[in-house]
């Protein structure tokens, strides 16, 4: 799965200007591409804010996908099951709008947004492009107990336990599952103290190897233990 981050330079616009404080806020608009291998699931995230502000999966995805065959699987943590949505383009869904529909014909209300993710599959090799504004500033997500799909809140590749990402994991319990394309590689979180000292904390596999960084546009499963936590972080570019 080849991902390319082509954010930054596409368009740069000054979003707001506060003359008194001399503070500038820049909206960085761009895109990244994700290449899908035919008939192979990819665990992806929409790490940009789309133009209409909804980040509905129906607005973020569609271009490049095969109507009546492409799938989006969203995890339901309450039932611990996936809900499967099939993509129908406007012609195949007419008179209903194009988008992702569940088996009963309900249009998906799921978000394909920063911090979230879903499995995406197409029967053909294809490239999907996620377009939008790079999220900046603070964000807050809830991390419930049990399995759920998460992603880094911005289109960057870094370690999940970094201060920047700040995921509220429970040491020696929380499990990170990174999707390989056909199965999961599991990692357990150890904080600095449990890992042996300052700077050593992180997600380790059973052999003591640190987890690789999630790539841009990818999502991951985490099984969280303990109690519901609040995940806060802040990005600025």
């Amino acid at each position: 799965m080849k991902k390319t981050l082509l954010v930054a330079a596409a368009t740069l616009a000054v979003g707001s200007f506060a003359s008194q404080a001399q503070v500038y806020s820049q909206n960085i608009v761009g895109y990244y591409n994700v290449s899908l291998t035919g008939n192979q699931f990819a665990l992806l995230s929409g790490q940009l804010l789309n133009s209409d502000g909804s980040n509905s999966v129906n607005n973020v995805l569609g271009s490049g996908l095969t109507s009546q065959s492409a799938l989006a699987l969203f995890w339901d943590p309450s039932s611990s099951t996936f809900t499967t949505y099939t993509y129908y383009n406007a012609a195949d869904a007419s008179p209903s709008p194009g988008g992702f529909y569940d088996i009963n014909g309900n249009l998906s209300t799921n978000l394909f947004a920063p911090g979230k993710g879903a499995f995406i599959q197409d029967p053909n090799n294809t490239t999907i492009t996620v377009v939008g504004t790079v999220p900046q500033g603070g964000s807050t997500n809830t991390v419930g107990v049990g399995f759920n799909i998460y992603s880094i809140n911005a289109p960057i590749s870094t370690n999940i336990d970094s201060g920047l990402v700040n995921f509220p994991a429970t040491s020696q319990q929380d499990q990170l599952l990174l999707w390989t394309g056909s199965s999961y590689n599991p990692y357990t979180y150890y904080n600095d103290a449990d890992a042996g000292g300052p700077g050593l904390g992180g997600w380790y596999d059973i052999n003591g190897n640190l987890a690789p960084y999630p790539t841009v546009g990818s999502a991951f499963f985490i099984e969280h233990f303990g109690s519901t936590a609040t995940w806060t972080n802040s990005f600025s570019f």
Partner: protein
């Protein structure tokens, strides 16, 4: 015949209970099942009047007794119930939900964008009894009229698919696709003249001829 099949399925269930199961979502995209039995040859997307199950195997070389899928506008099915029985005897397994222990029986969706899609368990994956926990299985969809019964009826209108290649999941948290992604294409459910039916029809014609001859004397 039904008793024989039931015993075979039960025996298979006992044998299979010691193996791990793979997860399967038995569903499809829209317009998957067509009703050809209400008006043979004039197919319409099935209006919630069919049931569907599937037969499966792990062997990529196992063939089916029928050579083609049932067309969406067929005047008669491309397979017979006798061939379904033969397929089961030759190693095709009747799909069974390992959680419920019941035969997997889906329905077609009534209306909306997904009208005519196959739906079982809300398209949520389930453990397929005695299946492998990884790799591919090979499946054929079998569909019939709801008038014939809610499990494989072995009589009445019938529709069959070509062989679908399906990648099973290792657990409920494994992503799995639909049958459409595995190559399933829409099929019809059409009348099936079984040998017994043909024989009965022949008897009826003979009786009618005899009655007319007697009446004309």
């Amino acid at each position: 015949m039904k008793k024989t099949i039931a015993i075979a399925v039960a025996a298979f269930a006992v044998i299979g209970s010691s193996f791990a199961q793979g997860y399967v979502a038995f569903s499809s995209s829209k317009s998957a099942i067509w009703d050809d039995f209400t008006s043979p040859g004039v197919g319409v997307v099935a209006p919630v009047n069919t049931y569907e199950t599937f037969l499966w195997t792990t062997s990529s070389s196992l063939t089916t007794p029928w050579s083609t899928a049932t067309a969406t506008n067929a005047t008669s099915s491309s397979a017979t119930w006798s061939q379904i029985t033969t397929a089961i005897g030759n190693g095709w397994n009747v799909a069974t939900n390992n959680t419920s222990g019941n035969e997997v029986v889906g329905t077609d969706i009534a209306s909306g964008v997904t009208k005519g899609a196959i739906s079982y368990n809300g398209a949520v994956s389930f453990p397929l009894f005695a299946s492998p926990s990884s790799g591919n299985i090979y499946a054929v969809v079998v569909a019939w009229s709801t008038n014939s019964g809610s499990v494989l009826p072995f009589s009445g209108p019938l529709g069959v698919s070509s062989i679908v290649t399906y990648a099973v999941g290792a657990s409920s948290s494994s992503p799995v696709g639909t049958f459409s992604g595995g190559g399933f294409t829409p099929i019809g459910v059409a009348p099936t003249p079984e040998p017994a039916t043909i024989a009965l029809a022949g008897l009826g014609v003979s009786a009618l001829v005899a009655f007319r001859r007697r009446s004309s004397k």
